[in-house]
């Protein structure tokens, strides 16, 4: 994704806008996330994934885990409050409210320190 290669020992962070994600199919989103994470990047999604996409992300992640190479992902979002702002009709029509900031990184590089309804605190380390 990045045009300038990360030559130092830092951690690359990709912040992906909701507009950019909206142009992609579910599998394209999952591929983009996992490709970034497998390179050691932290991927931040402005608007998150739908529940179905989250389910498929877990499934595809599992198929890619490989001993001594890729242990999976750490993913953090705020708890969903879908009952507050989403009607049954909206869900029936497929208008799922997914606007929630989501942070995804390699399981061996990101560690959640604290999480509640309003705050996520995470520690990111180099590879």
């Amino acid at each position: 994704m990045a045009e300038v290669k990360n030559k130092g020992g830092g951690v690359q962070i990709d912040l992906i806008s909701g507009d950019r994600m909206a142009e992609l199919t579910s599998m394209e989103k999952i591929r983009m996330i996992l490709d970034g994470v497998r390179e050691g990047n932290i991927v931040i999604l402005e608007e998150g994934l739908s529940p179905d996409e989250e389910s498929r992300l877990i499934e595809v992640t599992m198929t890619e885990i490989s001993p001594d190479e890729f242990n999976g992902i750490e993913i953090e979002t705020y708890p969903r409050s879908e009952t507050k702002d989403q009607s049954f009709l909206d869900r029936l029509m497929g208008k799922e409210s997914t606007k929630k900031l989501t942070v995804i990184g390699p399981a061996n590089q990101i560690e959640t320190l604290h999480k509640d309804e309003t705050l996520i605190s995470a520690l990111v380390s180099r590879k």
Partner: protein
């Protein structure tokens, strides 16, 4: 002849609809690894059928394949409810084989276990999307319920409009905190229990009959 065939087909359709309405609902037992899902599945299966579902262990990812126990008939208040119990592998977003080495496992066995565990998690997610009619979500009441896996899975279950009961397991342990689970998922009913000790199983079966009957 055509008319007779049509009438026969109609009768056949009505009969099959009647029977399908009585088909047992498939209830998936979901939750993070080591929450006590298989202990619960075994408790329910033993109480009502006399058989177990699968082996239990304190080592994470003991259950690496979804297992179905069919036609479990639970009797409550003069009525009987028939369900299929689907015990699923614990869901996670990461599996590190080196964690199994801490349980005195050889590397080869640990790698095999981790590979089977990843397949099991993928299988569990597939069942959730396609093949269950309701969910029992099991949490270890001694652990913090505010984890990403719990948040995501409850969101996935809600998005499919599946009926869900949350079971706060391991209340026999001093550190158990049922209130913390109730506060984390206030939109769902939480039932405290100890699947290992059989504590509060009457309420567990009442709720299963209410929700999935």
């Amino acid at each position: 002849m055509g008319l007779i065939t049509e009438i026969r087909d109609s009768i056949s359709n009505v009969v099959s609809t009647l029977f399908s309405a009585q088909d047992p609902k498939r209830i998936g037992i979901y939750g993070p690894p080591n929450a006590g899902k298989t202990t619960l599945a075994n408790r329910i299966a033993r109480d009502w059928t006399g058989d177990a579902v699968g082996p239990e262990s304190h080592i994470p990812h003991e259950t690496r394949r979804a297992r179905r126990k069919e036609n479990v008939e639970i009797e409550r208040n003069g009525k009987s409810v028939r369900i299929d119990i689907v015990d699923t592998p614990g869901v996670t977003t990461k599996v590190d084989y080196t964690e199994f080495l801490e349980h005195d496992m050889e590397k080869e066995d640990a790698v095999r276990r981790s590979r089977e565990a990843t397949e099991g998690v993928a299988e569990a997610m597939h069942w959730l999307r396609e093949d269950v009619d309701g969910v029992i979500y099991v949490l270890d009441a001694t652990e913090d319920p505010f984890t990403q896996v719990n948040t995501m899975l409850i969101g996935i279950i809600e998005s499919q409009d599946l009926p869900v009961l949350i079971f706060a397991n391991k209340i026999d342990l001093d550190e158990a905190n049922v209130r913390r689970i109730e506060n984390a998922f206030p939109q769902h009913e939480t039932v405290p229990l100890s699947a290992l000790e059989g504590d509060n199983m009457d309420e567990v079966y009442d709720k299963i009959a209410d929700y999935f009957g």
